[in-house]
Protein backbone atom coordinates (compact mmCIF):
# COMPACT_ATOMS: atom_id res chain seq x y z
CA UNK A 1 0.00 0.00 0.00
CA UNK A 2 1.66 3.20 -1.16
CA UNK A 3 0.20 6.65 -1.35
CA UNK A 4 1.63 9.55 -3.24
CA UNK A 5 4.08 11.32 -0.96
CA UNK A 6 2.84 14.71 0.14
CA UNK A 7 5.81 16.79 -0.93
CA UNK A 8 3.92 20.01 -0.36
CA UNK A 9 3.50 19.18 3.30
CA UNK A 10 7.13 18.06 3.66
CA UNK A 11 8.38 21.20 1.95
CA UNK A 12 6.26 23.51 4.08
CA UNK A 13 7.33 21.68 7.22
CA UNK A 14 11.02 21.96 6.30
CA UNK A 15 10.60 25.65 5.45
CA UNK A 16 8.85 26.39 8.75
CA UNK A 17 11.62 24.65 10.65
CA UNK A 18 14.26 26.49 8.69
CA UNK A 19 12.67 29.87 9.41
CA UNK A 20 12.38 29.05 13.07
CA UNK A 21 16.00 27.94 13.14
CA UNK A 22 17.19 31.09 11.36
CA UNK A 23 15.19 33.25 13.72
CA UNK A 24 16.78 31.54 16.70
CA UNK A 25 20.30 31.96 15.31
CA UNK A 26 19.71 35.71 15.05
CA UNK A 27 18.22 35.70 18.54
CA UNK A 28 21.26 33.95 20.01
CA UNK A 29 23.43 36.52 18.26
CA UNK A 30 21.51 39.34 19.93
CA UNK A 31 21.46 37.64 23.32
CA UNK A 32 25.18 37.02 23.25
CA UNK A 33 25.67 40.80 23.51
CA UNK A 34 24.30 40.60 27.05
CA UNK A 35 26.28 38.29 29.29
CA UNK A 36 23.80 38.55 32.14
CA UNK A 37 20.98 37.28 29.93
CA UNK A 38 22.82 34.03 29.52
CA UNK A 39 22.03 33.29 33.11
CA UNK A 40 18.39 33.03 32.04
CA UNK A 41 19.32 30.73 29.20
CA UNK A 42 21.20 28.42 31.55
CA UNK A 43 18.45 28.32 34.14
CA UNK A 44 15.80 27.78 31.50
CA UNK A 45 17.95 25.22 29.74
CA UNK A 46 18.16 23.00 32.79
CA UNK A 47 14.47 23.55 33.48
CA UNK A 48 13.57 22.60 29.93
CA UNK A 49 15.76 19.51 30.06
CA UNK A 50 14.08 18.39 33.27
CA UNK A 51 10.68 19.07 31.75
CA UNK A 52 11.66 17.04 28.71
CA UNK A 53 12.71 14.10 30.85
CA UNK A 54 9.61 14.15 32.99
CA UNK A 55 7.20 15.39 30.35
CA UNK A 56 5.46 12.06 29.97
CA UNK A 57 4.80 11.80 33.69
CA UNK A 58 3.83 15.47 34.03
CA UNK A 59 1.42 15.27 31.11
CA UNK A 60 -0.25 12.11 32.34
CA UNK A 61 -0.49 13.51 35.85
CA UNK A 62 -1.96 16.83 34.76
CA UNK A 63 -4.66 14.99 32.83
CA UNK A 64 -5.42 12.71 35.76
CA UNK A 65 -4.54 9.78 33.53
CA UNK A 66 -3.78 6.41 35.05
CA UNK A 67 -1.81 3.57 33.56
CA UNK A 68 -4.22 0.68 32.98
CA UNK A 69 -3.43 -3.02 32.94
CA UNK A 70 -4.20 -5.69 30.39
CA UNK A 71 -6.91 -7.13 32.70
CA UNK A 72 -8.73 -3.81 33.11
CA UNK A 73 -8.85 -2.87 29.42
CA UNK A 74 -8.05 -6.00 27.39
CA UNK A 75 -9.49 -4.73 24.10
CA UNK A 76 -7.74 -1.38 24.28
CA UNK A 77 -4.43 -3.08 25.06
CA UNK A 78 -4.78 -5.48 22.18
CA UNK A 79 -5.72 -2.84 19.71
CA UNK A 80 -2.74 -0.72 20.74
CA UNK A 81 -0.52 -3.83 20.53
CA UNK A 82 -1.58 -4.68 16.98
CA UNK A 83 -1.33 -1.13 15.75
CA UNK A 84 2.15 -0.84 17.29
CA UNK A 85 3.16 -3.96 15.43
CA UNK A 86 2.03 -2.48 12.12
CA UNK A 87 3.83 0.77 12.96
CA UNK A 88 6.96 -1.17 14.00
CA UNK A 89 6.94 0.37 17.45
CA UNK A 90 7.33 -1.29 20.85
CA UNK A 91 3.92 -1.30 22.52
CA UNK A 92 3.63 1.93 24.55
CA UNK A 93 2.15 2.32 28.01
CA UNK A 94 -1.64 2.51 27.84
CA UNK A 95 -3.37 5.08 30.06
CA UNK A 96 -6.97 6.14 30.56
CA UNK A 97 -8.21 9.45 31.90
CA UNK A 98 -11.63 9.74 33.48
CA UNK A 99 -13.26 12.59 31.60
CA UNK A 100 -16.42 13.16 29.59
CA UNK A 101 -14.49 15.06 26.93
CA UNK A 102 -13.81 12.63 24.08
CA UNK A 103 -10.08 13.00 23.51
CA UNK A 104 -6.71 11.29 23.20
CA UNK A 105 -3.06 12.23 23.40
CA UNK A 106 0.39 10.68 23.27
CA UNK A 107 3.38 11.62 25.34
CA UNK A 108 6.97 10.48 25.82
CA UNK A 109 10.31 11.66 24.55
CA UNK A 110 11.18 8.46 22.70
CA UNK A 111 9.63 5.27 21.39
CA UNK A 112 10.67 3.51 24.58
CA UNK A 113 9.15 5.94 27.07
CA UNK A 114 5.94 6.55 25.14
CA UNK A 115 2.44 6.46 26.56
CA UNK A 116 -0.88 6.68 24.76
CA UNK A 117 -3.83 8.02 26.70
CA UNK A 118 -7.53 8.06 25.90
CA UNK A 119 -10.41 9.53 27.90
CA UNK A 120 -13.37 7.45 29.03
CA UNK A 121 -15.51 9.83 26.96
CA UNK A 122 -13.62 8.79 23.83
CA UNK A 123 -14.12 5.09 24.53
CA UNK A 124 -17.87 5.74 24.90
CA UNK A 125 -18.17 7.94 21.82
CA UNK A 126 -16.27 6.03 19.13
CA UNK A 127 -16.82 2.67 17.49
CA UNK A 128 -13.95 0.18 17.09
CA UNK A 129 -12.70 1.39 13.71
CA UNK A 130 -12.82 5.03 14.74
CA UNK A 131 -10.96 4.31 17.98
CA UNK A 132 -8.34 2.44 15.99
CA UNK A 133 -7.93 5.47 13.76
CA UNK A 134 -7.41 7.81 16.72
CA UNK A 135 -4.95 5.45 18.44
CA UNK A 136 -2.97 5.10 15.21
CA UNK A 137 -2.82 8.89 14.90
CA UNK A 138 -1.33 9.04 18.40
CA UNK A 139 1.17 6.26 17.60
CA UNK A 140 2.21 8.26 14.54
CA UNK A 141 2.99 11.19 16.86
CA UNK A 142 5.21 8.82 18.86
CA UNK A 143 6.94 7.52 15.72
CA UNK A 144 7.60 11.04 14.49
CA UNK A 145 8.91 12.08 17.94
CA UNK A 146 6.63 15.07 17.99
CA UNK A 147 7.04 15.74 21.70
CA UNK A 148 10.77 16.17 21.19
CA UNK A 149 10.43 18.20 18.01
CA UNK A 150 7.98 20.61 19.64
CA UNK A 151 10.05 20.85 22.84
CA UNK A 152 13.14 21.85 20.88
CA UNK A 153 11.13 24.21 18.68
CA UNK A 154 9.63 26.05 21.66
CA UNK A 155 12.74 26.24 23.82
CA UNK A 156 14.13 29.57 22.64
CA UNK A 157 10.66 30.95 22.23
CA UNK A 158 10.17 30.47 25.96
CA UNK A 159 13.45 32.20 26.65
CA UNK A 160 12.47 35.14 24.45
CA UNK A 161 9.27 35.40 26.44
CA UNK A 162 11.23 35.42 29.71
CA UNK A 163 13.53 38.17 28.47
CA UNK A 164 10.50 40.25 27.53
CA UNK A 165 8.99 39.62 30.95
CA UNK A 166 12.06 39.91 33.22
CA UNK A 167 14.77 41.45 31.02
CA UNK A 168 14.72 44.87 32.77
CA UNK A 169 15.53 43.03 35.96
CA UNK A 170 18.73 41.67 34.49
CA UNK A 171 19.79 45.01 33.11
CA UNK A 172 21.78 45.51 36.28
CA UNK A 173 19.00 47.65 37.71
CA UNK A 174 20.11 50.91 36.05
CA UNK A 175 17.24 51.94 33.90
CA UNK A 176 19.33 54.19 31.69
CA UNK A 177 21.08 51.37 29.86
CA UNK A 178 19.36 51.40 26.50
CA UNK A 179 20.94 48.09 25.47
CA UNK A 180 18.62 46.14 27.72
CA UNK A 181 15.68 47.73 25.99
CA UNK A 182 17.16 46.65 22.65
CA UNK A 183 17.39 43.09 23.94
CA UNK A 184 13.84 43.21 25.23
CA UNK A 185 12.52 44.60 21.98
CA UNK A 186 14.43 41.99 19.95
CA UNK A 187 13.08 39.27 22.22
CA UNK A 188 9.55 40.56 21.75
CA UNK A 189 9.90 40.31 17.98
CA UNK A 190 11.45 36.83 18.26
CA UNK A 191 8.72 35.70 20.61
CA UNK A 192 5.86 36.84 18.34
CA UNK A 193 7.44 35.40 15.20
CA UNK A 194 8.45 32.11 16.82
CA UNK A 195 4.99 31.76 18.35
CA UNK A 196 3.42 31.92 14.90
CA UNK A 197 6.01 29.56 13.41
CA UNK A 198 5.58 27.02 16.19
CA UNK A 199 1.81 27.04 15.74
CA UNK A 200 2.25 26.55 12.01
CA UNK A 201 4.70 23.70 12.60
CA UNK A 202 2.31 22.11 15.08
CA UNK A 203 -0.48 22.13 12.48
CA UNK A 204 1.80 20.49 9.91
CA UNK A 205 2.73 17.79 12.46
CA UNK A 206 -0.98 17.07 12.89
CA UNK A 207 -1.44 16.58 9.15
CA UNK A 208 1.61 14.30 9.17
CA UNK A 209 0.22 12.27 12.08
CA UNK A 210 -3.13 11.96 10.26
CA UNK A 211 -1.32 10.57 7.25
CA UNK A 212 0.82 8.28 9.41
CA UNK A 213 -2.22 7.04 11.30
CA UNK A 214 -4.12 6.33 8.10
CA UNK A 215 -1.17 4.33 6.76
CA UNK A 216 -1.04 2.26 9.95
CA UNK A 217 -4.73 1.32 9.94
CA UNK A 218 -5.20 1.28 6.17
CA UNK A 219 -8.53 3.06 6.77
CA UNK A 220 -8.37 6.83 6.24
CA UNK A 221 -12.17 6.99 6.29
CA UNK A 222 -12.30 5.64 9.85
CA UNK A 223 -10.04 8.41 11.17
CA UNK A 224 -12.03 11.02 9.26
CA UNK A 225 -15.23 9.73 10.77
CA UNK A 226 -13.63 9.73 14.23
CA UNK A 227 -12.57 13.37 13.85
CA UNK A 228 -16.08 14.37 12.85
CA UNK A 229 -17.63 12.36 15.68
CA UNK A 230 -15.31 13.94 18.28
CA UNK A 231 -15.90 17.37 16.83
CA UNK A 232 -19.66 17.11 17.15
CA UNK A 233 -19.37 15.32 20.49
CA UNK A 234 -17.45 18.27 21.95
CA UNK A 235 -20.51 20.50 21.84
CA UNK A 236 -22.44 18.08 24.04
CA UNK A 237 -19.90 18.22 26.87
CA UNK A 238 -20.55 20.56 29.78
CA UNK A 239 -18.32 23.62 29.87
CA UNK A 240 -16.72 23.02 33.26
CA UNK A 241 -14.91 19.94 31.98
CA UNK A 242 -13.17 22.12 29.41
CA UNK A 243 -11.68 24.76 31.61
CA UNK A 244 -9.38 22.52 33.55
CA UNK A 245 -8.02 20.89 30.41
CA UNK A 246 -7.65 23.62 27.87
CA UNK A 247 -3.95 24.23 28.56
CA UNK A 248 -3.34 20.70 27.29
CA UNK A 249 -4.68 21.56 23.84
CA UNK A 250 -1.45 21.06 21.93
CA UNK A 251 -1.46 17.42 22.92
CA UNK A 252 -5.01 16.54 21.97
CA UNK A 253 -6.31 14.90 18.85
CA UNK A 254 -8.80 17.74 18.57
CA UNK A 255 -8.27 20.82 20.74
CA UNK A 256 -11.04 22.06 23.00
CA UNK A 257 -12.84 24.98 21.46
CA UNK A 258 -12.58 28.39 22.97
CA UNK A 259 -14.93 31.11 21.81
CA UNK A 260 -12.36 32.88 19.71
CA UNK A 261 -9.03 31.61 18.52
CA UNK A 262 -7.77 32.94 15.23
CA UNK A 263 -6.66 30.48 12.60
CA UNK A 264 -2.99 31.43 12.83
CA UNK A 265 -2.99 30.89 16.59
CA UNK A 266 -4.38 27.39 16.63
CA UNK A 267 -2.24 24.30 17.19
CA UNK A 268 -4.44 22.09 15.01
CA UNK A 269 -5.77 22.45 11.49
CA UNK A 270 -9.54 22.65 11.24
CA UNK A 271 -11.36 19.33 11.27
CA UNK A 272 -12.79 20.08 7.83
CA UNK A 273 -9.30 20.52 6.36
CA UNK A 274 -8.09 17.30 7.97
CA UNK A 275 -11.10 15.33 6.77
CA UNK A 276 -10.60 16.69 3.26
CA UNK A 277 -7.01 15.39 3.20
CA UNK A 278 -8.06 12.00 4.50
CA UNK A 279 -10.67 11.86 1.73
CA UNK A 280 -7.89 12.44 -0.76
CA UNK A 281 -6.01 9.42 0.68
CA UNK A 282 -9.17 7.33 0.54
CA UNK A 283 -9.50 8.19 -3.16
CA UNK A 284 -5.92 7.08 -3.82
CA UNK A 285 -6.46 3.62 -2.37
Amino acid sequence: MKWKADWGLRGRMALTMFLLFALYIVFIGVLSQFASLFAIVLIMGSFSLAQFFFSDKITLWSMGAKKVSEEEYPDLHRTVGRLSQQADLPKPTVAVSDSRVPNAFATGRSQKSAAVCVTTGLLKTLDDDELEGVLAHELAHVKNRDVMVMTIASFLSTIAFLVVRWGWWFGGGDDDSPQVWVAILASLVVWILSFLLIRTLSRYREYAADRGGATITGKPAALASALMTIDSGMSKVPKEDFREQSEMNAFFIIPLKSDFIGKIFSTHPSTEARVERLRELERQM
Binding site: D75, D88, T217, K219
Partner: protein, 201 residues
Protein backbone atom coordinates in the same frame (compact mmCIF):
# COMPACT_ATOMS: atom_id res chain seq x y z
CA UNK B 1 18.59 4.24 14.66
CA UNK B 2 20.20 5.69 11.58
CA UNK B 3 20.60 9.20 10.28
CA UNK B 4 17.74 8.64 7.84
CA UNK B 5 15.34 7.67 10.60
CA UNK B 6 16.28 10.88 12.39
CA UNK B 7 15.64 12.88 9.24
CA UNK B 8 12.29 11.14 8.76
CA UNK B 9 11.33 12.02 12.31
CA UNK B 10 12.21 15.69 11.77
CA UNK B 11 10.08 15.77 8.61
CA UNK B 12 7.29 13.92 10.37
CA UNK B 13 7.20 11.04 7.89
CA UNK B 14 8.72 8.23 9.91
CA UNK B 15 5.34 6.82 10.92
CA UNK B 16 4.32 6.64 7.29
CA UNK B 17 7.64 5.20 6.13
CA UNK B 18 7.81 2.47 8.77
CA UNK B 19 4.16 1.46 8.45
CA UNK B 20 4.60 0.90 4.72
CA UNK B 21 8.03 -0.72 4.87
CA UNK B 22 8.27 -3.91 2.83
CA UNK B 23 7.95 -7.27 4.56
CA UNK B 24 11.15 -9.13 5.36
CA UNK B 25 10.49 -12.85 4.63
CA UNK B 26 14.22 -13.69 4.60
CA UNK B 27 14.36 -15.99 7.63
CA UNK B 28 10.91 -17.54 7.52
CA UNK B 29 12.30 -20.88 6.32
CA UNK B 30 14.35 -21.33 9.49
CA UNK B 31 11.30 -23.09 10.92
CA UNK B 32 11.45 -25.96 8.41
CA UNK B 33 14.45 -27.40 10.29
CA UNK B 34 13.91 -25.88 13.74
CA UNK B 35 10.76 -27.94 14.31
CA UNK B 36 12.94 -31.08 14.48
CA UNK B 37 14.85 -29.58 17.42
CA UNK B 38 11.55 -28.60 19.03
CA UNK B 39 10.32 -32.20 18.93
CA UNK B 40 13.52 -34.16 19.47
CA UNK B 41 15.26 -32.05 22.10
CA UNK B 42 12.55 -30.03 23.83
CA UNK B 43 9.56 -32.36 23.66
CA UNK B 44 7.31 -29.83 21.89
CA UNK B 45 5.07 -31.56 19.35
CA UNK B 46 3.85 -29.67 16.33
CA UNK B 47 0.04 -29.54 16.35
CA UNK B 48 -0.02 -29.38 12.57
CA UNK B 49 -1.33 -25.83 12.47
CA UNK B 50 0.15 -22.52 11.41
CA UNK B 51 -1.42 -19.16 10.70
CA UNK B 52 -0.64 -15.96 8.89
CA UNK B 53 -1.85 -12.72 10.47
CA UNK B 54 -2.25 -9.50 8.50
CA UNK B 55 -3.95 -6.14 8.90
CA UNK B 56 -6.65 -5.24 6.41
CA UNK B 57 -6.66 -2.32 4.01
CA UNK B 58 -9.94 -0.66 3.22
CA UNK B 59 -9.86 -1.19 -0.56
CA UNK B 60 -11.25 -3.46 -3.25
CA UNK B 61 -7.79 -4.21 -4.58
CA UNK B 62 -6.76 -5.56 -1.21
CA UNK B 63 -9.81 -7.81 -0.98
CA UNK B 64 -8.89 -9.12 -4.44
CA UNK B 65 -5.37 -9.87 -3.24
CA UNK B 66 -6.72 -11.85 -0.27
CA UNK B 67 -9.01 -13.82 -2.61
CA UNK B 68 -5.99 -14.60 -4.74
CA UNK B 69 -4.11 -15.90 -1.69
CA UNK B 70 -6.90 -18.37 -1.02
CA UNK B 71 -7.12 -19.43 -4.66
CA UNK B 72 -3.40 -20.13 -4.78
CA UNK B 73 -3.58 -22.11 -1.55
CA UNK B 74 -6.44 -24.19 -2.94
CA UNK B 75 -4.48 -25.00 -6.05
CA UNK B 76 -1.43 -25.80 -3.90
CA UNK B 77 -3.52 -28.07 -1.69
CA UNK B 78 -3.54 -30.71 -4.45
CA UNK B 79 0.20 -30.94 -4.02
CA UNK B 80 0.66 -30.35 -0.30
CA UNK B 81 -2.65 -31.47 1.13
CA UNK B 82 -2.71 -28.34 3.29
CA UNK B 83 -6.22 -27.33 4.35
CA UNK B 84 -6.81 -23.59 4.67
CA UNK B 85 -9.38 -21.39 6.28
CA UNK B 86 -9.92 -17.63 6.43
CA UNK B 87 -10.63 -16.09 9.82
CA UNK B 88 -11.18 -12.66 11.27
CA UNK B 89 -10.46 -12.21 14.95
CA UNK B 90 -12.26 -9.96 17.45
CA UNK B 91 -9.94 -7.06 16.64
CA UNK B 92 -10.58 -6.95 12.92
CA UNK B 93 -7.33 -8.64 11.96
CA UNK B 94 -7.37 -11.32 9.31
CA UNK B 95 -5.84 -14.74 9.52
CA UNK B 96 -5.12 -17.45 7.02
CA UNK B 97 -5.16 -20.64 9.08
CA UNK B 98 -3.32 -23.66 7.67
CA UNK B 99 -3.73 -27.26 8.70
CA UNK B 100 -1.31 -30.01 7.66
CA UNK B 101 0.28 -32.90 9.60
CA UNK B 102 3.40 -32.55 7.44
CA UNK B 103 5.30 -29.63 8.99
CA UNK B 104 7.43 -28.82 5.95
CA UNK B 105 4.32 -28.54 3.79
CA UNK B 106 2.94 -26.14 6.38
CA UNK B 107 5.95 -23.87 5.98
CA UNK B 108 5.76 -24.09 2.19
CA UNK B 109 2.06 -23.23 2.06
CA UNK B 110 2.49 -20.36 4.48
CA UNK B 111 5.29 -19.00 2.36
CA UNK B 112 3.05 -19.20 -0.72
CA UNK B 113 0.40 -17.17 1.02
CA UNK B 114 2.87 -14.53 2.22
CA UNK B 115 4.54 -14.32 -1.19
CA UNK B 116 1.24 -13.72 -2.94
CA UNK B 117 0.40 -10.77 -0.72
CA UNK B 118 3.88 -9.35 -1.20
CA UNK B 119 3.65 -9.64 -4.98
CA UNK B 120 0.39 -7.72 -4.91
CA UNK B 121 2.19 -4.92 -3.05
CA UNK B 122 0.73 -5.62 0.39
CA UNK B 123 3.80 -7.08 2.08
CA UNK B 124 3.77 -4.25 4.59
CA UNK B 125 0.41 -5.45 5.90
CA UNK B 126 1.82 -8.85 6.92
CA UNK B 127 2.21 -8.84 10.68
CA UNK B 128 3.19 -12.35 11.68
CA UNK B 129 3.27 -16.05 10.97
CA UNK B 130 2.54 -18.34 13.92
CA UNK B 131 3.62 -21.98 14.16
CA UNK B 132 1.79 -23.89 16.88
CA UNK B 133 3.40 -26.47 19.18
CA UNK B 134 2.17 -28.26 22.26
CA UNK B 135 3.72 -29.64 25.43
CA UNK B 136 1.93 -30.73 28.65
CA UNK B 137 -1.41 -29.39 27.36
CA UNK B 138 0.02 -25.92 26.86
CA UNK B 139 0.32 -24.27 23.47
CA UNK B 140 3.59 -22.61 22.51
CA UNK B 141 4.19 -20.65 19.32
CA UNK B 142 7.08 -19.51 17.28
CA UNK B 143 6.07 -16.17 15.85
CA UNK B 144 7.79 -14.85 12.75
CA UNK B 145 7.54 -11.07 12.53
CA UNK B 146 7.47 -9.91 8.91
CA UNK B 147 7.93 -6.35 10.09
CA UNK B 148 11.29 -7.17 11.66
CA UNK B 149 12.40 -10.34 9.86
CA UNK B 150 12.94 -12.37 13.02
CA UNK B 151 11.35 -15.02 15.22
CA UNK B 152 10.25 -14.87 18.84
CA UNK B 153 8.61 -17.41 21.14
CA UNK B 154 5.11 -16.91 22.54
CA UNK B 155 3.66 -19.05 25.32
CA UNK B 156 0.24 -17.72 26.35
CA UNK B 157 -0.90 -18.17 29.94
CA UNK B 158 -4.64 -17.50 29.98
CA UNK B 159 -5.75 -14.48 27.98
CA UNK B 160 -3.62 -11.67 29.37
CA UNK B 161 -0.38 -13.22 30.53
CA UNK B 162 2.61 -15.10 29.14
CA UNK B 163 4.81 -17.85 30.50
CA UNK B 164 8.13 -16.00 30.40
CA UNK B 165 10.23 -18.86 31.70
CA UNK B 166 8.98 -21.24 28.99
CA UNK B 167 9.63 -18.49 26.42
CA UNK B 168 13.13 -18.01 27.81
CA UNK B 169 13.85 -21.74 27.49
CA UNK B 170 12.65 -21.79 23.90
CA UNK B 171 14.72 -18.73 23.08
CA UNK B 172 17.93 -20.13 24.61
CA UNK B 173 17.56 -23.53 22.97
CA UNK B 174 16.85 -22.32 19.46
CA UNK B 175 19.13 -19.32 19.42
CA UNK B 176 21.40 -19.79 16.43
CA UNK B 177 19.05 -22.14 14.67
CA UNK B 178 16.42 -19.44 14.26
CA UNK B 179 17.04 -15.76 13.76
CA UNK B 180 15.61 -14.47 17.03
CA UNK B 181 14.42 -10.92 17.72
CA UNK B 182 16.93 -9.60 20.26
CA UNK B 183 14.86 -6.69 21.45
CA UNK B 184 12.13 -8.12 23.67
CA UNK B 185 10.05 -4.96 23.30
CA UNK B 186 9.11 -6.30 19.89
CA UNK B 187 7.84 -9.63 21.20
CA UNK B 188 4.22 -8.61 20.68
CA UNK B 189 1.69 -10.57 22.69
CA UNK B 190 -0.69 -12.08 20.15
CA UNK B 191 -2.75 -13.69 22.90
CA UNK B 192 -5.93 -15.74 22.42
CA UNK B 193 -9.33 -14.28 23.35
CA UNK B 194 -10.26 -17.53 25.09
CA UNK B 195 -7.87 -19.32 27.45
CA UNK B 196 -6.45 -22.52 25.98
CA UNK B 197 -7.45 -21.67 22.39
CA UNK B 198 -5.33 -20.39 19.52
CA UNK B 199 -4.96 -16.61 19.02
CA UNK B 200 -6.86 -16.90 15.73
CA UNK B 201 -9.84 -18.74 17.21
Amino acid sequence: MGLFDGLREVLGIRAEADATRKADPEDLFGMSTAYVTMEAELGYESVGEAALCFSEVDSADFSDAVEEVHEILEVGAEETGTETEARTDDYGYSWVVLDDPDFEDLVTSLNFAADTLMERGYGSRLLAALFAFEKDNQYAYWVYSFRRGAYYPLVPKGTSDRDSSAEFKLESNLDGELDIEENKEYWYALLPSTAGRHPWE
